[in-house]
Amino acid sequence: MPDIFDASYIWSDIPAILSGLPVTMEIVIVSTIFGWIFGLVLALVKMYRPPVLYQLCGIFVSFTRGTPELVQLFLAFYGIPVILQYTNYYWGTGISINGIPKMLFVLVAFTNITAAYSAESFRATLQGVDKGQMEAALSTGLSKFTAYRKIVIPQALVVAIPSLGSQFVSMLKGTSLAFVVSVVDMTSAGQLAASRTYRFLEMYIALALCYWILSGAFSALFRWIEQRLKRNERTITDSDAPEWEPAQATTTDIAGNSSTVAVGIAPVAATPAFAKATLG
């Protein structure tokens, strides 16, 4: 049997492939953080519809979702230097075009892609949160910002996490395109290793395994995050005292009068006949 396929190369290529893992993770994590923040802003613009900005955001989202990731990478790769050349020319910013790290192009492209896809998830889930939650928060004097931060966004996230998770995993796979702008991620690292041995099939099997395991791990992580965020479904553990004890000897009742004993309403049982009984 000739030496057509040698499985041992699959295992020996893995360390070389994993040398690109930090770069892959950097792309995914940085783009996700900035992409989600940008996506949340886009979602708010879509909800509140400020003129001009709303139309611009619409064009941005439609363009980003409607063009291939590879094309966007090249647009960033060729576009950013051109923009900088213009700013250097007109405003004398003096930025060295050659000094731009290649990674920046990849991060810009993937941040845009994440933002465009997550914006729709954020918008749908923010609008899906019961209007009464916001009203309750506003009625007690909270600012809209605090109401969003403390009440609405956490509830929206619970619903959004599954779709954000699948977008995250699909971006993780998409980062394999970074090699086109010479950023050495897992795919590039693997290609470099295989170019020395010419064992491309073995390397790509190893690379596929690495992406598969990473995707599975991140899917599981997002399921775990979802469960953590659904804190109302976790078990209650009351370890402290079952009876209320006033923290201080002096308490203040509803009317604002101080008294030395806690003014309390006795725990009430369900009293269906209350209205009748009290009316006599």
Partner: protein, 249 residues
């Protein structure tokens, strides 16, 4: 005089829901709002809290008059801090425990220190008889328990005026009793309230003053005895004969 609502108007497209409503709530008094659905009771409460922006009219809290047409963001925020709303559907924060529901406005609107807010929350949960449920989430509580937490959430802010929008309409008869008892206790402790409700027997018992609204205006108002036993207006009589047939017998 705590709160004076004057000539409040609100229109949704062509539908004029409030057509110049004026109501006074003296300190520590309980005012009942009655009327058929669509009479404008809920809108009046929501406008008082600026959950809906009134088209015109003034709101006066302790001598501070706010022209609702030109109310600034700060004025709206200040008005909201002096009122507290209890909703028909409770609207407890779903991912927060009973205690956290009560604490939030204390720490973020009233700027209490976290420890003080926590203690006040537990005190008020105890007042409504739910200390043992302090770590429960809303979906682990019955409707009546949720509304009692909502009452504690509103009362803990010690508002100048509590606005109750049909607080028992979403509850079954067993749960209604426990909620009414808590409202009664708050009223006995001197909390000013404006209550929109269809619980006529209850309103008759706790209200100092009852306002009958019809088609966006105050049709008749007076003491509970006067409105329920000796209504002057035909429309009031007609409404009451429909909702409290047993009273007429």
């Amino acid at each position: 005089m705590v709160v004076r609502i004057s000539d409040l108007r609100k229109r949704f497209d062509k539908n004029e829901v409030l057509r110049g409503v004026s109501i006074e709530v003296p300190d520590g008094k309980v005012i009942g709002l009655i009327g058929s659905s669509g009479a404008g009771k809920s809108t009046l409460l929501r406008c008082t809290n600026f959950l809906e922006s009134p088209d015109s009219g003034t709101l006066e809290f302790d001598g501070n008059v706010v022209d609702t047409t030109h109310a600034s963001k700060q004025q709206v925020q200040e008005l909201r801090r002096q009122t507290a709303m209890v909703f028909q559907n409770f609207n407890l924060y779903k991912l927060s425990t009973a205690t956290e529901n009560i604490e939030l406005a204390l720490t973020h609107a009233k700027h209490y220190a976290p420890k003080k807010a926590h203690e006040a929350s537990l005190e008020f949960l105890n007042k409504v008889g739910l200390y043992s449920k302090r770590n429960s989430f809303p979906d682990q509580l019955s409707g009546g328990q949720q509304q009692r937490v909502a009452l504690a959430r509103a009362a803990v802010l010690r508002p100048k005026l509590m606005l109750l929008d049909e607080p028992t309409s979403a509850l079954d008869p067993e749960n209604i009793g426990e909620v009414l008892k808590v409202i009664k206790n708050l009223a006995d402790e001197g909390q000013s309230m404006l209550i929109a409700s269809h619980e006529m027997n209850f309103l008759r018992r706790i209200c100092d003053h009852v306002v009958f609204m019809d088609q966006g205006v105050v049709k008749e108002e007076g003491s509970a005895d006067q409105i329920f036993n000796h209504p002057k207006e035909d429309r009031t009589r007609q409404f009451l004969s429909g909702v409290t047939p047993q009273e007429e017998a």
